[in-house]
Subunit: 906 residues, 2 copies
């Protein structure tokens, strides 16, 4: 066996930041900090290889480990001038897990190892603080009993609660030293009763118990599930970090704190953080005392005492370290430190989490500062974060004022970015209705389901009481780019009464609430929202580019992204307006224009219904001729908005019954309107009804059975293209035939399109170049792509339907099991959100390979909703797609993901 | 260019039977007959290669063809002692297509070439029969005008009709010579007016016109469609046969006839046929005169005059030839002959079509006679024909009597074999209801649709007015092995009045009719049906094996089949009774036992509903416990019936809402019955309703969300297996998890099954071997089969669902486009009947390859309805399946198909 233990400490680090695979993230960074001279409490890391060997060898340690650990313990003693188990000057250590990738809270930790009935007295003598000594001791016994000896933590809590109750105390910090002594004794009794074993007084037994517990925790269910969900291989293993304990609660010259090297909210280059004097990390979490700002610049209140003021020398030292760390890691760092009796210790450094705004600014600033290059900058913003920049916002001053007035209601999970304010609606139908009455609406549900989609689309924001960041509401909101807060457990919703109670505030339908989707906050009452600064520049055009620093950073960043990116990004847009927005946001074309959406507008639906109800082809053609000029106008508008960029237009896709009313009353009404006997209408509607409409008479099956529909649509497209060309505007129509399973279906439709185009060219004495291609959205299309490519001039993967058919899952019906599947880890993620790479992606690979075998230069894109999902975009580039297409607001996201994939593959 | 024309004639044949690719079937057989010395009217064949060259070279003939044709024409003249175009002794020829595979009626034919205004007089002089001369001439002009010159045949018919009307005649045969002369003249006028060209008087122009027309007819739409439907490659081309005309209508010593070398209905070894004296082939078709039996043995009436009696010498000669031909071809032949003025000519020989009974008998007899070996015999019965042997029958004497009484009503297409008799029902619901009242029912519909399935299943027979042999009714009936007649256009059905009129007979609901599905006949009134002889032996056991000659032949034949066959044949069976029948019919196991069918019986449905409506797991378990003993009893019965053969049992598959009533009234009724508030029931039913149930919460998604269901079913299976084993009967349960898309779905279910099995084994102190495998019925299962095979112990392809998802077609909704697709050749066949080899089959191949990569000895079967389709069975063997599973009555079919595939691949 190779070296199994790596020491870190005073200028004596055996590891470093590049050894994360062997030492885990935490261990590698501790070693690195020590290596570059920062004051890290000395310790050592047992490698991940030992973990792997431990499991390979039936949970036995490799030979020699004990000697290596002991040798390193001696080194710590030497460094610290204290001795493990010594009753006068006891060394205390912590034992923590540390995997290659952070698995927060998943594995076990034991603190204060080395305490026993004798050493606790030494600790008290050295600190002159009996309460501190016994508080540390009881914490250690409880943690050890729970983590190492498997005693239910509840049993320890019961004891504390009983004493607190007896004494009428509210918090453990009020317990006296004697009471803490009693706690220690009773904790030990519980252990003995529950396990038939004694709490180990011997520090060496303690440390091996803790090491074993950490290794074992690699395979406890919650860690296994977490790994499965996050695709962390089982054989990576965890490292174990044993480190000297330091205490921020040893008196007035002690403290503990966290800091960021730049502001994680807005990104400006200032040292940013908070601390608590005479406190432990736990106290911050418990929320009994309010942390103080780290420096004067951050003070918002003269009452506050910053670390800079309280301990100026320590603050100077810390400032030196933070700069050193940022320069060393060349990224914004998130630091933990403890000051023990006037001495500063650095406990952790890691890359700091940040908002989208901060990520963009830090990336651009660091390039300007010469710290990183452009390519690195492009890796420093998460694609999803770019949506934050486009979402509506609250004015920060408004927000502060509102919070001060106590209008904060509750916090949930931030599932969709931006800000929204509106009247409460407790059902999708009601939301839809209120929105139609021009109200701003916030849809509030216990949880949402597919039937709520229309209400979600009509609302400004969505709030749910249940569900996590992969719940239906979260997914849909993300797809719609809509402000959303989910899993807000404080809500108590009563649908029947149309009321909800939130922390004693009662709100009714129609009352105003406001959501901060980025923070996950729910606020009472109405607040004004504003288009984001970037939207003001790009979409509203109310702010000049040169007046927005944020926009200039954004523009700079996106230029770098575009330089690196090597696949196209188009948009899904059905109207001239959407097309314009998409172009503003960087669309390089339209990848999917759904013509049927146009049929629902105004009195078009009447002509559509007339077509559906026609007795024969003549009747259908008559009705279609009414639709022709309207479709042509739409296409003219879209072609103009796209100004020479390619526009992929899909011919009619949904089953015809979608265009008919559903209830008998509505049918009767329609009958009167179009002068058709209601019974005839009802019979027709019944005959069109389908058991599984998703797999029914739709897509090119319509155009094959009723070629006159395709004829009309082709005519509208080609006439529009010719008209636009005659105005001197470039135009590139790409006609896309949906739901093709078999070459001949496509062949027939292409023939119709080509015939119509020739007719129009002759009539107009002008021609345009156009392509006829197909959506690949059925497994059979992938499997026969070589045949289809004989005729099709381009492919576009429709991954929504392809996912439904590949899995045999109807998206509309998946609510009863898919969330369960994701929660249980049966599926690693919702395949309608991020593509299923092995199944659906496997079919795509087959389709691409076969298609290009026939037609090596075949242009292939994707136009399912997956086209805006970063991981899917990366996959699409890996498998050789020419472009992705997504909703307008996700264009920057897709571009960034595509560029990052280039960099990842370099 | 190689030799382009092959001569056949008196002992001078250049071709032979083995040259079908080059000379076409007809040409090769004519050459062969001439070669072995039979009197064939001399002629020649232009090869298929010329056809290919003709199309490759822009419809120009290869150089030298004209010379070769002329040289061969001279040979005919020499052989016949007549001269082409000679006005005293004119040679007349026919010109016919002849592809490698027969394409009956698809391409063009021209007869009597060589006639013109002068040669017709020569013909008359030679035959002394002016009527014959002008009749031949007018037929030629009409045929030539239509086929070669493109004049609509209707224009010629108009003239004939006009003259007939003027003269008050019923048939053309009543026209006088003068009238026929008038016809000739007016036909020529029509040609001149319609084409701006004259009818060619020059015989050489005529023959080249005819040859060109035949080659051109290779690419007329109906021929192209036929080729597409029958998978005949375009580049095979057709040959052209030019042959001396002989006439059976030259007087009393002339005749024409057809014959079979054995009886094509029952198969006995007797010469069998009919003839007409002084007649042409057309006269037989026109049905004006009744053909006479060919020999005395066949006479059913003393009035009849057999050829044996009328022309004993010719009959002797013919007998010699038929024996020679059968011995030569070693198969039953279908012959055409013509006697011209006392001289016998053989015009055609080909393999004779025959019924299933005849096919079996001929195959077995020929082996007994030493004519063929067993392996050849196995190729001589079409798999589908074996179903005839198992279908119910009418007594042949009854049938004769009934027909004599004029009870024959109409003829349709024979779509499902056997005989059926029952009361008419005009709707599926009514059929279902009447069947429940113990009536025998014949469901009569204009056409059927998927909503009619329950009525079809409840009926004895199905009769439709519309639709062909691939219509819904035909396909479903075939699958159910049910008697069925489709496309019976004579039916005039009035659903509202519940009446139909058939050739002036009015029948109402409840009236009796009878169907002969093998003949496609509809008979008025009731007839008794009997189990077929094989069914009497095997299933009814009312007839001893040794008493049935037919059975002994069948048994012998199936033994040969089984010797050759190398994949297994199992059955789909859900009850002990079906299982027994299947074993009788040769099932080697159960490939699919659908447990849910058991839940619909009696009061089980109540417990099922109780389970579905339960508030929580405890409630579900309580209801499931009621179902447990019933399921266990079913499995015990099935295991016993299968007596040690493997039994694959699928866990619950359909969505739960299928078990609930659908209408509000039914729900209210149920509510009262099970003491649950009707509103609660309705809400629950609504919440379970799905947009696309086919893709909804079903299959293993149920077992994953409600593992208690799988637990109950696993317990029922394992307890039953243990109980049966304790009785000393061998038992091999194979538990099959449906609708798996992802390994983990299967893994969870398998864990549940294994846990339950361990529990039962402990409780019972006995264990059984069992397997846990999965249905592969989703594209994703095929694509991830390597992963699934890590856990699954067997695969069974569920090709019904796999076809639905691969195509994205719901079988229930396909009626609006799938028949259209098949009719238009967009799809070559209905993929729910015969597997789609490239798409669905392609996925199967991926699944097989990936599955066996992980688990090389993986047992793989198929249990979709395709398992009983002969072409699919052959495919399954080609791709390496271990077995197919089909409905009991299709077991012999599947076995024979599997054996034939072995022989085809040798």
């Amino acid at each position: 066996m190779k070296k199994m233990v790596y020491y870190f400490g005073k200028n004596n680090s055996e590891g470093g930041a590049d050894m994360k695979a062997l030492l885990g993230g935490k261990g590698a960074n501790l070693a690195e900090m020590a290596r570059i001279g920062l004051p890290v409490p000395p310790g050592f890391t047992i490698t991940t290889e030992v973990c792997t060997a431990f499991y390979a060898n039936n949970k036995n340690y490799p030979e020699g480990l004990r000697d290596e650990v002991n040798a390193n313990l001696r080194k710590i003693e030497q460094d610290m001038g204290a001795e493990f188990g010594n009753q006068d000057n006891p060394l205390l250590v912590s034992c923590r897990s540390g995997a290659r990738i952070s698995m927060p809270g998943m594995m076990d930790t034991v603190l204060n190892i080395g305490l026993n009935d004798r050493t606790v007295e030494g600790l008290i003598r050295r600190t002159d603080n009996p309460r501190f000594g016994y508080d540390s001791y009881r914490r250690f016994i409880g943690m050890y009993g729970d983590v190492v000896m498997g005693v239910k933590f509840r049993l320890f809590e019961n004891i504390l609660n009983e004493i607190k109750k007896r004494r009428g105390l509210r918090h453990e910090s009020e317990l006296t030293t004697d009471e803490l002594k009693e706690v220690c004794r009773r904790f030990k009794d519980v252990i003995a009763r529950a396990t038939d074993a004694e709490f180990p007084e011997n520090p060496e037994d303690q440390i091996w118990g803790a090491i074993g517990a950490v290794f074992n925790s690699w395979n406890i269910p919650r860690a296994v599930t977490y790994r499965r969900l996050n695709h962390i291989p089982e054989d990576w293993g965890t490292a174990v970090n044993v480190q000297t304990m330091v205490f921020g609660n040893m008196g007035p010259t002690s403290a503990t704190g966290v800091a960021f090297t730049r502001n994680p909210a807005a990104g400006e280059k200032v040292f940013f953080g908070e601390y608590l004097a005479n406190a432990q990390g736990e106290d911050v979490v418990a929320g009994i005392r309010t942390p103080q700002p780290i420096n004067k610049a951050q003070k918002s209140d003269p009452e506050q005492v910053s670390l800079e003021e309280l301990m100026p020398e320590i603050y100077q030292e810390l400032s030196k370290y933070y700069q050193k760390l940022e320069n060393h890691y060349k990224d914004m760092q998130d630091l933990e430190f403890t000051i023990q009796e006037g001495k500063l210790y650095m406990l952790q450094t890691r890359v700091g989490k940040r908002t989208g705004f901060a990520a963009l600014r830090i990336a651009v600033d660091m390039v300007d500062e010469g710290l990183i290059d452009k390519r690195t900058a492009v890796t420093r913003v998460e694609p999803e974060q770019l949506t934050h920049l486009l979402s509506p916002i609250f004015d920060p001053e408004d927000k502060k004022a509102v919070l001060k007035k106590g209008r904060f209601l509750a916090k949930g999970i931030n599932a969709g970015p931006g800000a929204a304010s509106g009247k409460i609606a407790f059902s999708a139908d009601r939301a839809f209705q209120m929105a139609n009455e021009d109200d701003s609406v916030i849809l509030v549900r216990i949880e949402t389901s597919p039937e709520d989609i229309h209400g979600m689309a009509a609302s400004q924001g969505i709030l749910t009481a249940q569900g996590g960041s992969t719940s239906h509401a979260a997914l849909v909101a993300r797809g719609m780019g809509k402000c959303c807060v989910v899993g807000c457990n404080a809500l108590n919703i009563d649908y029947d009464e149309k009321k909800m109670t939130v922390n004693n505030v009662v709100l009714s339908e129609g009352d105003y609430i406001s959501l901060d989707g980025s923070a996950g906050e729910v606020i009472n009452g109405r607040m004004d929202t504003y288009p984001s600064e970037i939207a003001q520049v790009l979409i509203e055009k109310t702010l000049k580019q040169e007046d927005s620093l944020l926009f200039r950073r954004y523009e700079k960043f996106m230029t770098w992204v575009d330089e690196i990116r090597d696949i196209g990004v188009r948009t899904n847009a059905d109207t001239p307006k959407d097309s314009s927005v998409a172009v503003s946001l960087g669309a390089e074309g339209i990848g999917l224009c759904r013509t049927e959406h146009m049929f629902f507008e105004g009195n078009r639906i009447d002509s559509m219904r007339e077509m559906i109800l026609a007795e024969n082809k003549t009747g259908r053609i008559k009705a279609l001729n009414k639709l022709l000029p309207m479709q042509r106008e739409d296409f003219i508008g879209i072609f103009k908005a796209m100004n020479g960029r390619p526009v992929t237009i899909r011919t009619l896709d949904p089953p015809l019954h979608e265009f008919l009313p559903h209830t008998d009353e509505e049918l009767e009404e329609l009958g009167e309107k179009i002068q058709v006997d209601a019974e005839v209408l009802k019979r027709k509607a019944r005959s069109l009804r389908e058991a599984n409409p998703m797999l029914g008479h739709r897509g090119c099956r319509l155009g094959n059975v009723y070629p006159e529909i395709t004829r009309m649509q082709a005519r509208a497209i080609i006439e529009a293209a010719v008209a636009v060309k005659k105005e001197g505007i470039d135009v590139k129509p790409e006609i896309m035939i949906p739901l093709v399973a078999e070459l001949r279906e496509f062949e027939n439709q292409r023939k119709v399109v080509n015939e119509v185009a020739e007719e129009v060219f002759k009539e107009e004495n002008e021609s345009v170049d156009y392509l006829v291609g197909t959506m690949i959205e059925l497994p059979r299309a992938c499997l026969t792509a070589d045949r289809i490519a004989e005729q099709a001039e381009f492919f576009s993967f429709g991954t929504n339907d392809l996912t439904q058919t590949t899995f045999g899952i109807s998206r509309d019906d998946a609510g009863s099991f898919l969330p369960f599947y994701v929660a249980q880890g049966i599926l690693p993620w919702d395949p309608f959100q991020t593509l299923d790479f092995i199944g659906v992606g496997g079919l795509m690979k087959i389709g691409i390979e076969k298609g290009r075998k026939t037609r090596p230069d075949l242009k292939i894109g994707i136009c399912g909703e997956h086209g805006g999902d970063p991981e899917t975009v990366k996959f699409c580039r890996r498998v050789g797609l020419n472009y992705v297409s997504c909703s307008p607001y996700r264009i920057p996201v897709a571009k960034l993901a595509a560029a990052q994939e280039v960099l990842e593959k370099e």
